[in-house]
Amino acid sequence: MNPLDFLLEPLGYDFMVRALVTSVLAAVVCALLSCWLVLIGWSLMGDAVSHAVLPGVVLAYVVGAPFALGAIIFGVLAVVLIGAVRSPGRIKEDAAIGIVFTVLFALGLVLISVTPSQTDLAHIVFGNILGVSTADLVQVAILAVVAIAVLLVKRRDLTLYAFDPTHAHAIGLSPRLLGAILLGLLAVTAVVALQVVGVVLVVALLIIPGATAFLLTERFGRMLVIAPVTAAGSAVTGIYLSYWLDVASGGMIVLVQGVLFAIAFLFAPRFGVVSRLVGAGRSRAATAP
């Protein structure tokens, strides 16, 4: 087969074009957000919020409201509940997160089962990127653009919040507000990514690109380039592979991201396992008598 056909044939189908555009948008916005999440240590929080939005999405569907609205409400509710469960001090934070998000996710599953609709459980849980409609695409695009705009406008404040919230407070900014902005964006982004990979794998898009970028650079500005580029590349590669190998596209996108992470983990110039071993060997040789 002509190699060009490998790239062009899938583009002959509208659903493939929509799948590519949607997954690249979702991957890029998740990747940008992931740069802050991995630095703050909010990976588990990302997992929690992305699962906890499920009942919000279902209820929004029932009343005909935008998915994002339901998602934000339940994302915030999850964060508030986690704080409430943890604050008396008996239950540790990881347990509080685990309890709240699984129970909210379960509520979402139950709601889906009683909702007379075409909301297909499998599509929400595992994503339905090949079934994205033009309306879905428009919604994803609007949410992604809003989230990216907020992230880029507030990026220095958010980085300050991640690095030194005490200083943010000391110069009159509100760390609480900045944290709330990030959590709101997390909820919005979860909705975007849900279309592509489903609730279960959203957290992958929200962690892996940032973690990969963090292995490759010591400059936050470069992380904000590397993460979305690797994520967009993974999305395109994953979709093509899923087309030609006839396998699950959401899963394939995350697999490609995982492979890129593994490569960075092993071979990153400074922080990779291999270069660390080589560096350790060199310094041992240098200090040997």
Binding site: V153, D164, H167, A168, H169, G172, M223
Partner: protein, 245 residues
């Protein structure tokens, strides 16, 4: 003259734990004050009360005669955190960190203007880190790290600098450099409040010292404060054997 920091009947409780109890303390501008006490004596809590990070259970804190919230919005307070509170792998350069001192004075996106760059360059030169400005913050020595955060306070042009354990993990030559720097900043009229349990540094550093154990035990010149009797009250019975004295 308005006190730089005026603390009146301050009490702070965390649940059942009393961190500070009826603390009175006034600091004049242009002075370096060392806050001395053992772990759990309330030193950090006192600093955090000045910057408004902990809510007083009772009493008041005034900074330049106004509430800490107003002083923060003016950019009057700089806070240098303990080393353990900082993620040293964070992907920011020394220059980035110092630039964060300017954020309160910048527009919505904190895009640096020429005057911000100039202030940062000047602050870096002041603490002798101009050559290392592009290094990742964790690739500095303990003393250089502290100076980077002090430079952030200088770039902020804060009148009040609060430093939590600035000499922890810092070697002796660097300690002397930091002491000189803080003395210079006080000579410009800034107020410097430092927590430390490194008693050896206090004499060279501070104009006044405070011994803290939930309340102010003594407040005076370092010579007045650092007597064996006072120290045994503040630290219990560990004053005789320890080399730190």
């Amino acid at each position: 003259m308005t006190a730089a920091i005026a603390i009146d009947a301050l009490s702070v409780r965390y649940g059942d734990v009393i961190a500070l109890d009826d603390v009175h303390l006034e600091l004049q501008p242009g002075r370096v004050c060392a806050l001395i006490g053992m772990n759990g004596s309330g030193k950090s809590t006192l600093l955090k009360s000045v910057v408004g990070l902990v809510r007083p259970t009772g009493g008041t804190v005034l900074v330049d005669g106004e509430s800490p919230a107003r002083a923060r919005r003016r950019g009057a307070i700089a806070y240098v955190p303990q080393s353990e509170e900082v993620d040293w792998r964070f992907p920011v350069s020394v220059r980035d960190v110092v630039m964060m001192g300017r954020y309160g004075r910048q527009g919505l996106t904190r895009r640096p203007r020429a005057e911000d760059r100039a202030a940062v360059a000047e602050a870096l030169a002041r603490v002798d880190l101009a050559d290392l400005a592009d290094r990742q913050i964790g690739r500095l020595s303990g003393g250089q790290r502290k100076r980077a955060f002090v430079a952030r306070g200088i770039a902020q042009d804060a009148g009040i600098l609060l430093l939590d354990e600035p000499f922890a993990g810092v070697d002796k030559p660097s300690e002397a450099t930091i002491v000189r720097l803080l003395r210079d900043l006080a000579a410009e009229g800034r107020t410097v409040l430092v927590t430390t349990h490194d008693l050896a540094a206090v004499g060279a550093l501070a104009d006044e010292a405070v011994l803290l154990l939930q309340r102010v035990l003594v407040h005076g010149t370092p010579a007045e404060v650092l007597t064996p009797e006072n120290l045994s009250r503040a630290f219990g019975l560990e004053t005789d054997g320890k080399g730190a004295l």
